[in-house]
């Protein structure tokens, strides 16, 4: 996607700045906690966080720094003394705290599930067909999910919402901000990217031969996928022909030709065929990875890689592709005969080869643990600065929003986290999260239960 398009979409969310406080009714047990007001009003006064340790991500660490948040943006970042604090600003002493950009989770199911085992609360993936590019996670995104406050309390301010695996093309991702009065305000970008899964899990071959249905093999999956893209190419040609014929008819003042019948599935594939949007190519093993890449190249798709957890033998090949990798989950078990840390060390191995990496929680309930995965990678050779970058600036770059997010720089959206220590340390407690400059109430359904039973 063009950066300008994203800017436009991000700024399209600007009405969010005029949010009104509104109570949200949550599903609560025992009626103990019935109403939870989590919304805040627009940032009215400027905020200056003073004295903290600023991890800018883009330009190093500033000890005893000052960061100013105004009208939803970061307006100044620097060392104390070098930054002019606006006269009317609310000055907050952040001495001893660590301040860093809001974290970005590059694959979640936030807003698509509430209780995993309860089918009625899940909108994760349509399994009726393997080719479902016309599914839009934005259509299912549940803004009032109790999972979202839980995630943002740990400093995650933005995330990709992706459908679950299971299909080759399960539907399109959204890019969200983890605060807002309604789904449209939180959905910064609809249909940002399209997952293309080629892990073997998409095969419908469970059970005996009598229970199988097409496609039950990788051959079947690849053929079906190829057919879908060929159909989309044909469809596109038909649309282009129609446009030409229509233009000719208008020019010749003749009756307009009949428009081709719309096909939503094929229509959804066109921006990806045109290379205007990103395909998220998921594979785990070296062989699946190479098959998936050759399929993507066949149709000149623009792609980033996902998982590649068992592709260690071909990391130089991965580097040669010059595309970013959403790596992991780092907790993926190694293969039977592999050393225990084969997957733990994958982020470092990719980094050493110059690959841009980002992390994802691949989760809904455990989005809050995203920084733990990044921290764990440092125990196996990833430099800590790079680990933080993989959940901030790198992610913003991969998703085309680096002009707005991912670092502490003047002009960017004021998504800022104040914590009592290193973001990669599991013991670190987040003290305050700012999203678009608003101090988010540091409460969730879980803090309310805690407080209720601490009385």
């Amino acid at each position: 996607m063009q950066p300008s398009a994203i800017s436009h979409q991000l700024s399209a969310s600007k009405p969010a700045l005029s949010w009104h406080p509104r109570p949200l009714l949550l599903i609560l047990g025992l009626g103990l906690l019935s109403i939870l007001s989590i919304l805040t009003s627009a940032q009215e006064t400027a905020i200056a966080l003073k004295g903290g340790r600023l991890l800018t991500v883009s330009h190093g660490v500033i000890e005893n720094g000052v960061i100013v948040l105004q009208n939803g943006k970061i307006t100044a970042v620097g060392s104390a003394g070098s930054v002019n604090i606006p006269a009317n600003a609310q000055v907050i002493d952040a001495t001893g705290e660590t301040i860093y950009p809001g974290l970005i989770d590059s694959e979640t199911q936030l807003g698509l599930t509430e209780i995993s085992a309860e089918a009625t609360t899940n909108d994760l993936v349509e399994m009726s067909d393997e080719i479902m590019p016309n599914m839009h996670t934005a259509d299912a995104f549940h803004a009032e999910s109790a999972l979202i406050p839980v995630a943002r309390l740990n400093g995650i301010t933005n995330a990709i919402v992706a459908p679950d695996g299971g299909d080759t093309l399960p539907g399109q991702d959204s890019f969200i901000q983890l605060a807002g009065a309604s789904a449209p305000e939180m959905l910064l970008i609809r249909d940002l990217a399209l997952p293309l899964n080629f892990t073997g899990d998409e095969r419908r071959n469970k059970g005996g031969f009598d229970k199988r249905k097409f496609p039950s093999t990788r051959m079947g999956l690849a053929t079906q996928l190829r057919q879908a893209f060929i159909d989309a190419q044909d469809y596109k040609t038909k649309l282009t022909d129609y446009d030409h014929k229509k233009a000719d008819a208008v020019r010749d003042k003749k009756p307009e030709p009949l428009a081709p019948k719309r096909d939503l599935k094929l229509e959804a594939l066109i921006p990806y065929l045109e290379g205007k949007k990103t395909v998220v190519l998921a594979a785990e093993s070296s062989s699946d990875l190479q098959t998936a890449v050759s399929l993507a190249n066949e149709f000149k798709l623009k792609f980033v890689l996902n998982h590649i957890s068992h592709s260690q033998p071909v990391l130089d090949y991965v580097a040669s592709l010059k595309v970013p990798v959403i790596v992991g989950p780092i907790y993926e078990a190694p293969k039977e005969d592999e050393r225990y840390d084969t997957v733990y060390s994958l982020p470092a191995q990719l980094y050493k080869r110059g690959v841009k990496i980002v992390f994802a929680s691949y989760s809904a309930h455990n989005v809050r643990n995203l920084p733990d995965a990044a921290g764990f990678a440092t125990a196996f050779g990833l430099p800590p600065d790079e680990a933080l970058k993989a959940i901030t600036l790198n992610a913003a770059e991969v998703w085309g929003v680096a002009d707005q997010l991912g670092s502490l720089d003047a002009g960017k959206t004021a998504n800022v986290v104040v914590a009592n220590g290193d973001p990669l340390d599991v013991k670190t407690d987040v003290k305050q999260v700012y999203i678009q400059g608003r101090a988010i109430p540091m409460t969730s359904r879980q803090t309310q239960l805690r407080d209720e039973y601490s009385k």
Binding site: I115, S116, E118, D425, V426, Y453
Partner: protein, 429 residues
Amino acid sequence: MHQTALAKFEFLCVCLIIFITAGFSQNAHHDVVIKNATVMTVTHGNIKNGSIYIKDGKIAAVGESVNAPATATVVDAGGKYLTPGIVDCHSHIALDDDVNEATSPVTPQMMMKDAFDYQDKAIYRALAGGVTTSLLLHGSANMIGGQAVVIKHKYGDGRDALLFPDAPRSIKFASGENPKRVYGGRDQLPSTRMGNFEVQREALVQAQDYNREWDAYNAKVKRGDKDASPPKHDLKLDALSDVLNRKLMVQIHCYRADEMLTEMTMAKEFGYNLRAFHHALEAYKIADQLAANNVGIATFADWWGYKNEAWDAIPWNAVMAMRKGVRVAIKSDSEDYTRRLNQEAAKTIRYGGATEEEALKMITLNAAWIIGVDDRVGSIDVGKDADLVIWDGYPLSTTGVPEKVLIDGEVYFDRTRPGLGTTHYKEGE
């Protein structure tokens, strides 16, 4: 460094590592001293520049300096952290998916030991995460499941070497959603929580009858009645009889506060030894009652929302329960999480402010108590098994990982070794 020089250097390093490790293992049942370690004892604070003297696989001395024979192999820990081996008191690894005999809701005669696959790589992967002892439990499909097996992660040794010698016996009970889903899904009893508890009660009542039959028979024999005929031996009722006679500790899978209260009432009614609730995600709601009944909990650090009965889970559960006097363990219940229980324990520092020692206790001594082996493992105290972990980095963090793991004084895992890092297991065997 020059390429060949580097190669030589690497070769020397490997030789040195092998030498050190060999020193460890050859002296396994002799004397080893680990010196210059930050010893986290769990029971009596940290000792900077501490030493441990290991004799015949047991901790013979611990302190700032120890008296050991001059012949003892000395290993310099280089100031690194040294902790007791991690104890995972809720695991289902190394059972080749034979976790649930889900063909009847009451199967106390099942022995997990019969399914134990001592070659399962999951044992190795947990070992590499610092786990030295695990309780392998039956699953939660049945109200009354099977009998657990306690293992030491001596990966590469023979099957019997991995069985924790003379460990107390435990049996798994379960309640809540799982049994009712498994049997309800087949239109069988139980399909509700009413059914769940009735199935459990019915089984225990049958065992009481069985006990009475045997008591009557034994009394007859004692009186010298030569015509007395013994009741038929029934493995299922034998096992339940052991529950009633407190020869088996009961480990109950239970989520909701109300169900934990019901289970405690039932344990009192039948007089069995309810050792711990597993999962216990709502323990924070009834912590006083758990403490009053001396029932431990084996819980997750922050799992939640995966099922309805996990909806009220909060990450402060462990510390809130602990502050009320409950013995709290953090367990894995997972082939994945068992590899990094230290990180899970560290979360209790963040959520609720556990001290370093309290956090560590949740994956060592308290977990050992739940299994009933706290007199043998779980802390660095004289007389205990030398199950130890030397850490790269700080253990209660995302960045600390085990460098060496010792069991009974022998190194079983060494991160600096090439290949799998195992010392007893040879690849390809």
